[in-house]
């Protein structure tokens, strides 16, 4: 996916004026936010779990090399193969090679964000493979040729009407001649279409919610069961996963699963939680003949060695975006790449470049709501502020902003001068605004007055009045 993050501002303004999107985003607040809150009310050990999750993941990251090697050894023992990719391009090449070596024609995919991150669908289709997304939301987006707008609910921005149109347009050729409008009829039609794709697919691809070092297993959670079918029916299974998905033990994965669904969708547990370990073995009745894992770095080693390391704890629940007042107004597409919201505003600059994604760390009020709901306690506001510091150091922010900051700081470090200047200016401003109590326009404050009035100041500054009253000071 070509990043479009430099147009965040224009994207966002457009999104604010899309009524369908705005209605969908309201539903997110009512659904996921309320659901999560209900879940945690019934979980008195929530804080203790968060603490444990944070420490297990910190320990894992501290020893990531060892756990990855342990994981690889267990996968190989189970008869699987592990491939290492440092870049998205390497990852794509590995997947294509596996598919070609297997003489595959069609690929069925379970929803995975790493698949979006490495752009696997375009690569597979470009190489002539037939690709089908099997998660309902992702399937809808595949038909509409759109990227996901949420990491858990990828098609949250689509209305039922739009989905009816998409199905009608694309399913007629498959013998479905009626435009359906009923929700369950639409689901049933998608199920019929997808069922044959599952049965026909040569390769099943999924991501991984966790990789377990002690067992060599990968874990996926879904609510549709499409992940299970993707990894059990086709003869070749490919798991693409980022290196930060590994956890030491089965016990650790179970503990994190307790946080994941609650934080994501407000469920205690997802409908399906699937553990797979290696290919089919005697006496298995089904399962893939080949089992491949592609472990992808894509800048994560860099992050591991930087102040952004806590971001690697992320378990992709989406709670940060569900609770983000900015995401909740502008939706996922505004962010211009694969990962939206607070977590995306940290990851995107790292993965596509701070110059391309320069808006994202700044398009945040640092209100901190994301951090309070993050199940693994990632200090998202601090990380975003850290990226702003990188921008400042690399001089990626505008010259005028730097100049203004410098000038302001110069005066602010000279309290007598500061008080002299403000002592002169504020009474004038107060006099100008006395009648109406506000300014609807103000030179140099166009960003403010574009959407709201600027209240007029009261009069003399506090410092000036305090000195006049002869009160103590030093």
């Amino acid at each position: 996916m070509q990043p479009n993050s430099q147009h965040f501002k224009a994207n966002a303004t457009a999104a604010l004026h899309q009524p369908n999107l705005q209605a969908a985003l309201k539903q997110l607040e009512l659904g996921f936010v309320a659901g999560r809150a209900r879940c945690y009310e019934g979980l008195p050990e929530f804080e203790a779990l968060r603490e444990r999750a944070e420490s297990v993941l910190n320990h894992t990251l501290e020893n990531l090399d060892a756990y990855l090697l342990e994981y690889e050894a267990r996968v190989v023992e189970a008869g699987g193969q592990v491939h290492w990719a440092s870049t998205p391009q390497e990852a794509r090449e590995i997947v294509l090679r596996i598919c070609r070596d297997a003489d595959a024609r069609s690929v069925i995919r379970g929803k995975s964000m790493i698949g979006e991150e490495i752009g696997i669908n375009d690569a597979l289709e470009g190489a002539g493979f037939e690709v089908t997304e099997s998660d309902l939301g992702e399937y809808i987006l595949q038909l509409g040729k759109e990227p996901p707008s949420h990491i858990v609910a990828p098609a949250i921005h689509k209305t039922k009407d739009e989905i009816s149109d998409l199905f009608f347009d694309h399913h007629q050729a498959l013998g479905f001649s009626e435009r359906l409008t009923d929700r369950s009829a639409l689901v049933a039609e998608a199920r019929q279409v997808l069922r044959t794709r599952f049965l026909d697919a040569d390769v099943g691809m999924t991501g991984a919610n966790f990789l377990i070092a002690e067992t060599g297993s990968n874990v996926i959670v879904t609510n549709e069961g499409n992940g299970d079918l993707s990894c059990t029916l086709p003869r070749v299974q490919i798991v693409t996963a980022a290196i930060d998905k590994v956890v030491p033990t089965l016990e650790d994965a179970s503990m994190l699963l307790r946080l994941l669904a609650r934080s994501a969708t407000g469920q205690e547990i997802t409908a399906y939680t699937t553990f797979s370990t290696g290919p089919r073995r005697e006496p298995d009745a089904d399962g893939p003949r080949e089992y491949h894992v592609v472990l992808i770095d894509n800048q994560r080693s860099e992050m591991l060695g930087s102040e952004l390391r806590p971001m690697l704890r992320c378990i992709r629940c989406g709670a940060c975006m569900n609770h983000c007042p900015v995401y909740g107004r502008v939706g996922g597409h505004s962010y211009g790449w694969v990962y939206p919201g607070p977590m995306g505003s940290v990851l995107t600059p790292v993965m596509v470049g701070l110059d391309e994604a320069g808006h994202l760390p700044n398009a945040c009020t640092l209100n901190g709501r994301c951090e309070t709901v993050c199940p693994v306690r990632i200090p998202l506001p601090d990380l975003l502020r850290g990226l702003r510091a990188r921008q400042h150091q690399q001089r990626l922010n505008s010259a005028s902003a730097r100049w203004a900051l410098g000038a302001w700081a110069w005066v602010a470090r000279r309290p007598r001068l500061y008080q002299f200047l403000t002592g002169m200016a504020m009474p004038i401003m107060a006099r100008l605004g006395r009648k109406s109590g506000r300014f609807s326009r103000m030179p140099l404050a166009g960003g403010w007055t574009r959407v709201r009035d600027l209240p007029a100041p009261q009069g003399s500054t506090f410092q000036a009045q305090w000195q006049k009253r002869g009160r103590n000071g030093s």
Binding site: P325, N362, N397, V451, R452, Q458
Partner: protein, 257 residues
């Protein structure tokens, strides 16, 4: 908590917005602190806490301003001010800015330990339970993000407001959601900020209150500006002004009556 020093020496961190825009809030803070038994001083060598620089990634200027605050305030028993945001900068972020400075870090840690947002200080430290004030009207209260999340201020202002004669509190729907101010965010991303403020204004309307209160002037200027732009009549005050009984002046953004 140990029983407090009955008359601690408090350095008032006025905050630049209060200094420039709404001195009445500063005087209200002084009154509340003095009523609680504090000896209040206002160091003249204060301007801004440095948050605009810090949140813009300009840590060097932020450190310089932090040092200025340290030197002006470290001798006081407490540093208190009418803002969760600015006092949160001192309390939560100064120590991070000097994490690698073995000489200064302990001094900033000490400063951090005695720095409090006003509502939290009055209730949690000075154990004030009631105030002597009256205000006739139905108010609603917006929890500023920094007061809520950096100082755990939620019950304290409500407890004090409950003792104000004639005041009725009507809770704001979504009170823990940001109003869209966000420092430089509000001018860098006015359209998003404006929508957030508009949603907050709608919640104020829905609360049925005739007056909006909060503990941070940034939020209040944003929301007063949005209320005025939309032609709404709700009055806007800093919570300290109401608690000190100092609402005899025009509310924020209000014109001549």
């Amino acid at each position: 908590m140990n029983s407090p020093n009955p008359s601690p020496r408090v350095g008032l961190f006025v905050t630049c917005l209060v200094d420039l825009y709404r001195p009445n809030v500063g005087f209200a803070a002084v009154k509340l602190l003095e009523d609680a038994g504090c000896r209040v001083e206002v160091p003249r060598a204060q301007t801004c806490c440095g948050q605009p620089a810090y949140n813009s990634g300009d840590n060097e200027h932020a450190r310089q301003l932090a040092l200025q605050v340290l030197e002006a305030f470290e001798d006081f028993d407490y540093v208190v001010g009418p803002s969760g945001s600015c006092l949160g900068m001192i309390r939560c972020h100064y120590p991070d800015l000097f994490a690698d400075d073995a000489g200064l870090k302990p001094r900033f840690d000490a400063l951090c330990g005695k720095t409090h947002e006003l509502m939290s200080f009055l209730v949690d430290v000075m154990q004030v339970e009631t105030v002597d004030a009256s205000f006739s009207g139905r108010v609603t209260y917006h929890d500023s993000c920094s007061s809520l999340r950096e100082h755990a201020v939620k019950a304290q202002p409500r407890q004090l407001l409950a003792s104000v004669d004639g005041l009725e509190l009507s809770e704001l729907e979504g009170t823990d959601v940001c109003c869209g101010f966000g420092g430089t965010f509000c001018v860098k991303y006015p359209d998003i900020s404006g929508r957030m403020a508009a949603d907050k204004v709608a919640a104020v309307e829905a609360s049925g209150a005739d007056t909006l209160l909060a503990g941070d002037l940034g939020c209040l200027l944003n929301l007063a500006g949005k209320l005025r732009r939309e032609g709404k009549s709700q009055r806007v005050y800093h919570v300290a002004e109401v608690l000190a009984g100092m609402t005899d002046i025009k509310s924020i953004g209000e014109g001549e009556r």
